[in-house]
Symmetry: C2
Subunit: 412 residues, 2 copies
């Protein structure tokens, strides 16, 4: 794939997902993290001069974002997506079908609207957080699409048979067929069954079938949660070249080769940790995917404004050795001291791993998963208060568990 060079035949796409705009917006410390992340993503997109941004769902954290969140999102799209730079990717499919599903007033891709000056097009499906609801089955992202700020694709309205019509994009000689799967209010199990029963059909371009680079964007469980509430990779059509997998928040954006299906899978993850788990503590990144003909090249770009997260599993029995006959108070003091040590160590690590970006928040997130078998728990809230000036989540630094207890992951 090293042969892809930037030229008039190279389509360049910034890939990201799960920005969760408005996540804990009322939190004075962390409430702006999601907006800072979107701003960094847009900044990278402009610096890299990509043809468009492709998002994998959950742009908004709440189904009904607050007015402030909607307003700030609109400000950012206005600021970064409008301008004079011409867009050189042509949409050659039926644009009203691709984008007009929620509004008859949307008849084309936003940058072909003669009344709005788009310099950075954004294409997105919705996720489970910003799924359609209420009268008109509208998603929060439809307020961006109706105002010309975003191209919402992937809508399917049937629940029994799904057939997906791609957005066909062309730049020079390169042809990209972009498929999006929105499950709307459909349950994972149901979608799983539709795939099993071959009731999910991908419509293919009629002409020059082999010339198309085929990308599929979906927003589903990828890891197995129960027997059928996830989508196994082997369900997906093998004519795809690249799968963009939204919803999973761990950043696994380096394209993973599936040797059986012969496609790559990119899992952008979320730039905002909505759960303090190990997956989310990995470095957050976005990617610029360059496609020329049927070839693809990927630049992975670490995000520099993301709030740092350190998750550490510790066992009190390993580090706390109270002398025989110690009082409960003395034992608790030792337990706390041990945990404090770990927090201090993580804070040092955070300090040394700062990105240097002026907008990266000063205070990291710290999570100790404390196996307290054989010990008493202590007041985690009071413990955290000591770090209020240095940790952004003092209220829940320590999470007590016993060895046998499995982590139930938060909702993505």
């Amino acid at each position: 794939c090293e042969t892809v060079q930037d030229d008039e035949n190279t389509m360049s796409i910034l890939v990201a997902s799960d920005v969760h705009l408005g996540y804990i917006e009322k939190n004075g410390e962390r409430g702006k993290d999601s907006f800072v992340a979107l701003e960094e993503i847009f900044t990278i997109a402009k610096e890299r001069n990509v043809d468009f941004v492709l998002l994998g769902g959950d742009l908004f954290h709440e189904n009904k974002p607050s007015r402030k969140t909607l307003h700030t999102a609109m400000e950012l799209f206005q600021k970064y997506c409008l301008g004079d730079r011409p867009c050189s990717v042509k949409v050659v499919s039926d644009q009203a079908v691709n984008f007009g599903h929620t509004s008859s007033s949307i008849t084309c891709v936003n940058y072909e609207n003669p009344n709005v000056n788009i310099s950075l097009p954004v294409f997105s499906i919705h996720g489970n957080h910003d799924d359609p609801s209420g009268a008109g089955e509208l998603s929060a992202i439809d307020l961006l699409s109706v105002t010309g700020l975003l191209n919402h694709f992937g809508k399917q309205t049937k629940l029994d048979v799904i057939s997906l019509s791609p957005v066909l994009l062309q730049k020079g000689t390169t042809k990209l067929a972009l498929y999006g799967l929105e499950k709307g209010s459909m349950r994972d199990e149901r979608l799983h069954r539709l795939f099993l029963n071959h009731l999910v059909t991908m419509l293919r371009p009629k002409e020059s079938l082999d010339d198309w680079f085929n990308v599929f964007v979906l927003h589903q469980n990828r890891s197995k949660h129960g027997a059928t509430n996830y989508i196994p990779e082997q369900f997906l059509d093998d004519f795809f070249d690249l799968i963009i997998w939204g919803h999973e928040h761990e950043c696994l954006i380096n394209p993973q080769w599936n040797p059986i299906k012969r496609f790559f899978v990119m899992q952008p993850g979320s730039p905002v940790a909505t759960s303090l788990c190990e997956g989310e503590s990995k470095q957050k990144k976005v990617a610029v995917v360059k496609i020329r003909g049927r070839e693809m090249k990927t630049d992975i770009i670490p995000l520099k404004t993301v709030r740092q997260l350190y998750v550490e599993n510790i066992t009190l029995a390993d580090g706390v050795h109270p002398p025989a006959g110690s009082s409960p108070e003395a034992i608790e003091a030792l337990s706390q001291a041990y945990c404090e040590e770990v927090v201090e160590r993580l804070l040092l690590r955070a300090q040394s791993q700062k990105s240097g970006h002026p907008r990266q928040p000063r205070k990291p997130l710290i999570r100790l998963r404390v196996d307290y078998s054989g010990f008493d728990i202590f007041n985690a809230y009071r413990f955290g208060a000591k770090f209020a000036d240095r940790v952004s989540n003092p209220e829940n630094i320590v999470h007590f568990l016993k060895k046998s207890v499995k982590k139930i992951r938060d909702d993505l």
Copy 2:
């Protein structure tokens, strides 16, 4: 005022107010009335080729409009306000001050934004229905302003002293100073007191003071409700030439001359009857105000798509004369028959007064205010059911009262 002709020095303004978008949106019969009204207003504005639309507040009925209502509003603004027609009114005041109060990303009037193509500018203040709330003190109309669809002016943030900076508009030799007063969350009584204590100051243009035609838009009680929860006309500065008075729903849009203050007052009223009272039953109209120099001419334009409303006061004792010894059932039957007669008469009148516009709703609103002194009430709901096919408010056609009871008006 008959001397104002259309020319390059004539500013032409469509004046309307209180559109209450989304009013009873879930009502299958009447839920779309507010959107039809806005569409007619925009259509008139385009036919008359006005320079801009000026709205007096309560564009949205709910402080937090549903997604569907916001989306439909955005669709209509997109459809009617975008396009290539050039806007020839210049804003000569500080535009960031005038319009940028809720977003630093708004630095100018929408039609000077190089990235959005505005053909029909709209200027509006908010009302009490769409007043600012929540984080950032944003109004629903700010979601239109941040996307470049509307120019939100009149913001004042202080509660103790108000000084209003006008939007200064110029077309050819005509100069218009446009003042808007938004009370935000301030109570009427408080605003009344600020006026009384001369704490509301209108900033004036520094140069050629006498050349400006001065318009003041406010959204307040005009009729007296209690001693101090309204704004008397005599409180207003007498340098104004024209007052546009929003909030009152009765259409009194013909300019009324105030001989003491020497200004005109226009009260556009609401195109959607949100209360079934006599005031709302008057013909709904909008106006095109033409200003050249210090002269003004007004064209009054009846709205043709508005749902008809007929309100009639009747007294059972006047029309119902049961023979002596009649059973209660017999008397009730006579009362109902009398009311039915009146409804039939009003329906005939409605039929004869149809505008002929294809979008005017078929079923009118009918309200009988029934003085039942000396009689028993009957089941108004069952009574109305007979008219379900011909009246749009069968559930509350009849409103029983006794003579002494005064009508308490609904919230405007």
